[in-house]
């Protein structure tokens, strides 16, 4: 009993209130939405190509930069030349288009040649590492290694970050915005995959690539669409990340990408709802880690969650254990 009391003494008083807990919960869900959107890209690509696309984090980073440049081009957050809603919408559209295009280019030039050559499994992984490194350093050269400021607190004198009360929660407009946009994108993606012709082709390809191609599905096109959608979602996540954390730097892709990657694995890599759920879990875990334990060791906590999952359920929450076929 004394030990528990001692342990409670470790926390500050404010950390033991309900409102603090709820704040952490909301912040965790917001962060989790961003991770989830990135994780979907990892998961979709893995589902179809069985490839860990290490470059995905860098696509996210480039998306974030595109958002920043659109914002700067339109006058910056403090003095935008268009209504705020239009500015933010344009940032999202540009970032999603740019990131989507980048994803397609990466697939076309770094992965497809390997696929056509039937390279060993390890080759695309190494190629992905190379692309990731290349894009990161390209961003350092072109944009500088110092962070670029989104300065989103200046939007309409900070009203985006005003808190409103919904039931017991106190939520910033920004957090509502991020969660709602994520939900809308998720819903759109789910409908796209479930209802459309291309979505059906994607599911078929993910189930068995060879059989799908024998059934007349243009597998290369499906892969391009997958990269396009996954990367566009990462671009949207990049803008969200910039709006939430106010800035973007060339190394953010690697750090956030790694965490989102863990999210995809925890959710069950290859599964879209799994990626979202994994993202939320990791977002909550990380936020609570920062809020209650230590900001320095948040990566360690993500790693611990990942290891536990890999040991207990390697296929993740929604994944189906894949029987190895010979």
């Amino acid at each position: 009993m004394y030990a528990v009391f001692q342990l409670l003494g470790y926390f500050q008083d404010y950390q033991l209130t309900w409102s603090y807990l709820l704040d952490q919960l909301v912040a965790g869900l917001t962060l989790g939405s961003v991770y989830g959107l990135i994780a979907i890209g990892y998961s979709m690509v893995y589902g179809i190509l069985k490839l860990l696309n290490f470059a995905h984090g860098e696509v996210f980073m480039i998306g974030s930069y595109i958002g920043y440049f659109v914002l700067t081009w339109l006058g910056g957050a403090a003095d935008p030349s268009l209504p705020i809603a239009v500015v933010i919408a344009l940032m999202f559209i540009a970032a999603m288009l740019g990131a989507g295009l980048l994803g397609v280019v990466i697939e076309r030039f770094a992965y497809r040649p390997l696929r056509e050559k039937r390279a060993p499994r390890i080759a695309p992984l190494i190629s992905a590492l190379g692309v990731s490194f290349f894009l990161q350093q390209l961003a350092v050269i072109c944009f500088g290694s110092a962070p670029k400021q989104y300065d989103s607190y200046s939007f309409d004198a900070g009203s985006l970050f005003t808190r409103i009360s919904i039931g017991p929660f106190e939520i910033q407009y920004m957090q509502i915005f991020v969660i709602v946009v994520t939900a809308v994108l998720m819903l759109g993606l789910t409908i796209f995959v479930a209802r459309t012709q291309v979505g059906r082709a994607m599911r078929a390809t993910s189930f068995d690539l060879e059989a799908a191609s024998m059934m007349g599905i243009d597998v290369d096109r499906v892969i391009v669409v997958t990269f396009l959608i996954g990367s566009a979602l990462a671009g949207a996540a990049g803008v969200m990340n910039g709006l939430i954390f106010q800035n973007v730097d060339p190394y953010v892709g690697f750090q956030v990408g790694l965490v989102a990657f863990a999210a995809a694995v925890i959710g069950g890599i290859g599964s879209i709802p799994g990626a979202m759920l994994g993202g939320l879990a990791i977002g909550l875990g990380r936020t609570f880690a920062v809020g209650y334990v230590s900001s320095a060791y948040q990566d360690v906590i993500v790693f611990a969650i990942l290891i536990v999952f890999l040991l207990l359920r390697p296929s993740g929450i929604f994944g189906v254990p894949a029987p190895s076929k010979v």
Partner: protein, 519 residues
């Protein structure tokens, strides 16, 4: 392996094994002088060749005096050898056993920090070098074992994730390790201080002892060169013995087809643990040497960037080939790292990475373009195109075409005669850069990347034609943008590009053997 996409129609016929279909190519011996020379070379026993090569390397310090310039040379050599050691270790996990170990850098760091803790003022322990090396290498190997233990069931990709995170965690621990406490309860538990400082945090550990053992102290650059060379020779010899042993064959079996190897009663899990453990031990050895060489251990020497560099070395040399790993390490650390430094005094007539850059382009052209008439036509086109561009720019703008070319002998103006050639070939803006606008050059850089990507799409004479402006643009981007950051992002950018290009063009690297994927 049912997830492999269908064969291209250009491949061998259905039912024909690719290896068999191409057997004529393999059987055909290279003719001419090159072929005969290669035949003679292949008859010399391998150990003799390697002994000769290492003996040659061992003479480098003898041939130099202890002037500053030569000490710099020796340091470049020692660093290259440390990287060779690292590449050899990584080669065990990646090349032999086919495990994508992305936490490898952590073992290097464990070696460096372990030695720094045991043999420095940090904790007042001044252990002899042999004591700390033995302890640190053993601890690192054990760590490799422990990490591989939960991941032994994981397929390649998952192993990569876990190990990548492990490398990150190591970096976090090292940078945060200057205020370690037991759950923040040190005061309550009666320890003498609130935080312990284990790793020195971002500042690292300084004043690490030089190697001391049995009354000797290695303090000169030459001593470290020989220490490192000895380590490389011992590890190289050991690994080539292992490679030919039962274990080495089992590793290769694991690499080619884990499932089949398991069916043949190869102890797959144990071999994976061993590959990671052996690699970890070698990395830790390299870490101790680096720590004693720099007389300190600093976190940024052990981050993910360095990991990618080691990967490039192994892949470039040819994963699975020991000589390839050493060659890759030497090429990358000498040419990409020292050669690309803008101010490196490699000798009086090369004051920057220009030689490496243009030489590299020329080398690739010579190797890739046959016959020589085509090559000559392209080179002539490049020169003509450059001079034409220079003339056009000079005629249309007043901003000048003399660029900023840094340092070199003065007879030809800045940059030596090579600089003079380049200045009359490229149209370098005279003052734009001084005003701080980098945007046009950044756009040129992105344009260059787009052009290079386009080159991979087209074939035949169109490609040759497009090659001409691409090379010119590469020169332009290099002189205006890349050379300024050549010791930083540029070389890392090039390393990333090398990884991607190698994977598509020559996955077996320089010395590796091409693998036949059996489906």
């Amino acid at each position: 392996m049912s997830d492999v996409p269908p064969t291209e129609p250009t491949g061998p016929q259905i039912g024909a094994d690719e290896w068999v279909a191409r057997s004529d190519e393999h059987a055909e011996a290279p003719r001419g002088l090159v072929g005969r020379a290669r035949g003679v070379f292949e008859r010399v026993p391998k150990p003799v060749v390697f002994l000769f090569a290492f003996a040659l390397v061992a003479f480098i310090p003898v041939a130099t005096s202890q002037t500053d310039n030569d000490i710099y040379f020796l340091r470049v050599g020692t660093v290259a050898l440390v990287f060779a050691l690292l590449a050899l270790g990584l080669n065990v996990a990646v090349g032999f056993a086919g495990l994508l170990d992305l936490g490898y850098i952590a073992y290097y760091g464990v070696g460096a920090y372990g030695y720094a803790m045991l043999s420095s003022d940090k904790f007042g322990l001044h252990w002899q070098a042999w004591q700390s090396i033995i302890v640190v290498v053993a601890v690192s190997a054990l760590l490799g074992f422990l990490l591989a233990l939960p991941s032994r069931r994981l397929v390649g990709d998952y192993l990569a994730i876990v190990t990548l995170f492990f490398g990150q965690i190591f970096y976090v621990f090292v940078t945060q390790g200057y205020r370690v406490s037991f759950l923040g309860l040190n005061n309550d538990l009666g320890f003498d201080r609130a935080n312990w400082d284990l790793t020195g945090g971002p500042n690292g550990i300084a004043n690490v002892d030089r190697f001391t053992a049995f009354g000797f102290t290695a303090s000169s650059e030459r001593a470290y060169f020989y220490v490192t060379l000895t380590a490389v020779v011992v590890v190289f010899a050991g690994l080539s013995l292992v490679n030919r042993s039962r274990t080495g064959r089992a590793w290769r079996a694991l690499h080619d087809d884990t499932l089949a190897a398991q069916a043949m009663s190869v102890p797959v899990n144990w071999l994976k643990l061993m590959a990671v453990g052996v690699g970890a031990a070698i990395a830790a050895l390299a870490g101790t040497i680096n720590s004693a060489l720099l007389q300190g251990a600093f976190p940024d020497d052990y981050n993910t960037q360095v990991l990618i560099v080691i990967y490039v070395m192994v892949i470039l040399g040819g994963s699975g080939s020991l000589a390839g790993a050493v060659l890759g390490a030497v090429v990358v650390s000498v040419f990409m790292f020292e050669g690309l430094r803008p101010q490196t005094p490699i000798s009086e007539w090369t004051f920057n990475g220009r030689w490496v850059f243009y030489g590299g382009i020329l080398l690739v052209l010579v190797v890739a373009i046959r016959p020589w008439r085509r090559l000559a036509a392209i080179l002539a086109g490049v020169v003509a195109f450059g001079i034409a561009m220079h003339a056009i720019v000079a005629a249309t703008t007043t901003k000048g075409t003399d660029g900023l070319l840094n340092t070199g002998p003065e007879e030809f103006g800045e940059g030596g005669w090579l600089g003079w050639l380049i200045r009359n070939w490229l149209a370098l803006p005279a003052d734009t850069y001084a005003q701080g606008t980098k945007t046009p050059f950044n756009i040129a850089l992105v344009g260059l990347i787009a052009l290079v990507l386009c080159l991979t799409l087209i074939r035949g004479w169109k490609r040759d034609v497009l090659l001409v402006p691409t090379i010119w643009l590469a020169g332009f981007v290099w002189e205006t943008r890349l050379v300024l950051e050549a010791s930083g992002p540029t070389r890392l950018l090039l390393l990333g590009a090398i990884l991607v290009i190698l994977m598509t063009a020559r996955p077996q690297g320089l010395l590796g053997k091409p693998r036949v994927e059996i489906v």
